[in-house]
């Protein structure tokens, strides 16, 4: 482990005195904490210490910045979308293009930071959970880049829904482990990753994918994602001469949303909107809206809003978007929502897919279905704020991975063709696809 510990932080302005942005856990108001087995406490303490030391080490900060510039493609650009915005009464809508990052989403920001941190801690192996596969692909990418062994846990249900991302991870040399426990989705992949970690913690870092989980993950992941808002705040001022009136992002666990919100927390005139996955609608019970449709509870290491039944058992979430299909949310979001600093709303599958199509047709940009939730929300916010408003939206990912889902949703290909292409894919696959042996 590098022990250089410089007194002057180069980036890490979040250590500052600001009442909101300066919050560094373990608790955000009533939310957060570490509801974990004692066996993991030493590792969480180690990560916390390593992260603090890394953030104030100019060499670490520069190495990460260099990777951003020369590998993932930062700073990401801002695109104004007037033809899309025309559907919302004329306000200016600006997209922060995280979809243009290497690997296709904001997930790479966090993963590059944590992979560097892994090396700094002297560990050789990383594990990760993934739902849609974006975080798994990003982790596999960083592991390939830095020569780390990589194991990704993915619910069996999701490995079928996102077969292409499974192949991407295996191409990158990662081992993908389909999880057959519980509901076989993202939350079960997280459980399995924790089971691996408690037995492997000496050599392994758990690259947590979102701003949820036990402390310090919510702070750690936020610190690596806040570059989105730091860049956007300056870019929007450069383009418009002022701060935006509203910032919009989709919220599953909440990493892209915290990433773009954080630099604006002290700008009290800037309204912050998080859009959760509404599935069939919160009233139907089939949704993934933890804040708008859930209640405070303990889940996967932290106290936060969660979907659970009256006995505290986790309720399965539902969303067309695998990346938002999670029954929990990061504690900082629960805090921002509870305190009123940010507003959280729910967007249904249908609404998100309408916005998805609208952006494709008006601007030539195919968004991730996750991000389409924020796009729908932004249309509503823009209408509410009127034609003079400037609305910033985090376009957190691109829609390549969602083409199959969208094709089915919009009936763009015949069922026969879909079945045939699926059968062909299965027939062409080698029998042993379990990892790096290809």
């Amino acid at each position: 482990m590098t022990t250089v510990d410089h007194p002057t932080p180069v980036v890490a302005p979040s250590f500052g005195p600001e009442p909101l942005a300066g919050e560094r856990g373990p608790y955000f108001g009533a939310f957060g904490g570490r509801f974990v087995p004692e066996a993991l406490v030493a590792a969480l303490d180690e990560i916390d210490a390593a992260h603090r030391s890394a953030m104030s080490d100019p060499a670490f900060v520069e190495e990460l910045a260099e990777l951003h510039r020369t590998y993932s493609g930062r700073p990401s650009i801002i695109t104004e979308v007037p033809r899309f915005a025309a559907h919302a009464g004329g306000a200016r809508i600006l997209l922060k293009r995280e979809d243009l990052n290497h690997t296709g989403s904001h997930k790479i920001n966090n993963v590059l930071g944590q992979a560097l941190l892994t090396k700094r801690m002297g560990k050789r192996r990383v594990i990760a959970e993934t739902g849609a596969g974006q975080h798994g692909v990003a982790t596999a990418t960083a592991a390939a880049l830095m020569g780390l062994e990589c194991v990704v846990y993915m619910g069996e249900e999701d490995t079928r829904r996102q077969a292409l991302n499974v192949a991407r991870m295996r191409l990158l040399g990662a081992t993908v482990v389909p999880v057959t426990a519980g509901s076989r989705t993202l939350k079960d992949a997280v459980n399995e990753a924790f089971r691996d970690w408690v037995a492997s913690v000496d050599t392994t870092h758990y690259v947590f994918g979102t701003v949820a989980g036990p402390h310090p993950f919510p702070v750690l992941v936020r610190d690596y994602q806040r570059i989105i808002g730091v860049e956007a705040r300056e870019q929007v001022q450069g383009m418009t001469g002022r701060l935006p009136d509203a910032v919009c992002a989709c919220v599953g666990g909440g990493s892209n949303a915290i990433g773009i919100f954080h630099a604006f927390l002290e700008d009290t005139d800037v309204r912050l909107f998080g859009f959760e996955a509404g599935g069939d609608g919160v009233a139907t019970g089939r949704h993934a809206s933890s804040i708008t449709g859930g209640a405070p509870g303990v889940f996967q290491g932290a106290r936060s809003f969660v979907l659970q039944d009256e006995d505290g058992q986790t309720v399965e979430s539902h969303s067309i978007s695998a990346g938002l299909d999670y029954p929990g949310v990061g504690p900082e979001h629960s805090w921002l929502g509870d305190s009123g600093r940010a507003t959280y709303r729910s967007v249904t599958d249908r609404e998100a897919m309408e916005a998805f199509k609208l952006l494709c047709r008006t601007e030539g940009i195919i968004p991730a279905i996750e991000s389409a939730h924020a796009l729908h929300g932004a249309l509503g916010v823009a209408r509410e704020l009127g034609p003079d408003a400037v609305v910033l939206v985090n376009l957190s990912g691109r829609g390549d991975k969602d083409v199959d889902t969208a094709a089915r949703w919009f009936d763009l290909v015949s069922d026969e063709d879909l079945v045939a292409s699926e059968a062909e894919r299965v027939a062409d696959a080698p029998e042993d696809t379990e990892g790096s042996g290809w």
């Binding site: 087995p37 004692e38 066996a39 406490v41 089971r195 037995a199 106290r303 505290g312 058992q313």
Partner: protein, 271 residues
Amino acid sequence: MVSTATTSTAAAAVDGALAEGRAALVAYLPVGFPDVAASVEAAKAAVDGGADVVELGLPYSDPTMDGVTIQRAVDVALAQRTRPADVLRAVEAVAATGAAVLVMTYWPPIDRYGVDRFARDLASAGGAGLITPDLIPDEAGAWIGASEAEDLERVFLVAPSSTDARLALTAERSRGFVYAASLMGTTGARATVGAGARQLVERTRAAGAERVCVGLGVSTPDQAAEVAGYADGVIVGSAFVSRLLDAEDTAAGVRAVGQLAADLSAGIRRA
């Protein structure tokens, strides 16, 4: 739910065993597997076979500390919607045998039930306290208050990775005994008991713990004998659950649980 008999505590049960010159046997069984009534029968059979303390598991949907054996059992219990009230009834039934009964539970269900309310209801059912695998003392302020108010035991865990400072903190906040995880990993039978278990017990005692029981990966009479050589209690879980999983029918499973308790008890007495 008002118990007439005085509640047996785990501390008294462990001390009783030590007074006989042996370690205590602690048996874990999840309530609701294969069904609530059968899990109560299995727990009673474990007591008849020689278990000094029974841990009744409250099923939870996301058991991150458990291996496949207990996961399978918990899936069955939840599929039948085993609820906290069922667990409290099971506690009452097993406590009526005179054994000390602890509830082993992940924290989300207790948090949802209300920690003060659960403490009251557990005390009324004759339960001795809680074992909390995902609640560290640092987060346990509400539970410490509730357990003091209801005079319940608080069993926190320590692990080979725990620092001496954390061992001291955990020992200080525990009541009854400290649960030493023999290895870094989830529950489940293993060929050997973690090599670091003995050292962890010694470190935990040095940090101030009065009683230290060892669990995780202990499943055979030989392993029980080995652990009984240095710990105050031997905790066995997955091996009991396996007996129920592998049995042809419930009655055979309950008999096998009783037999395993007797075999483990004999192993402990050999130590």
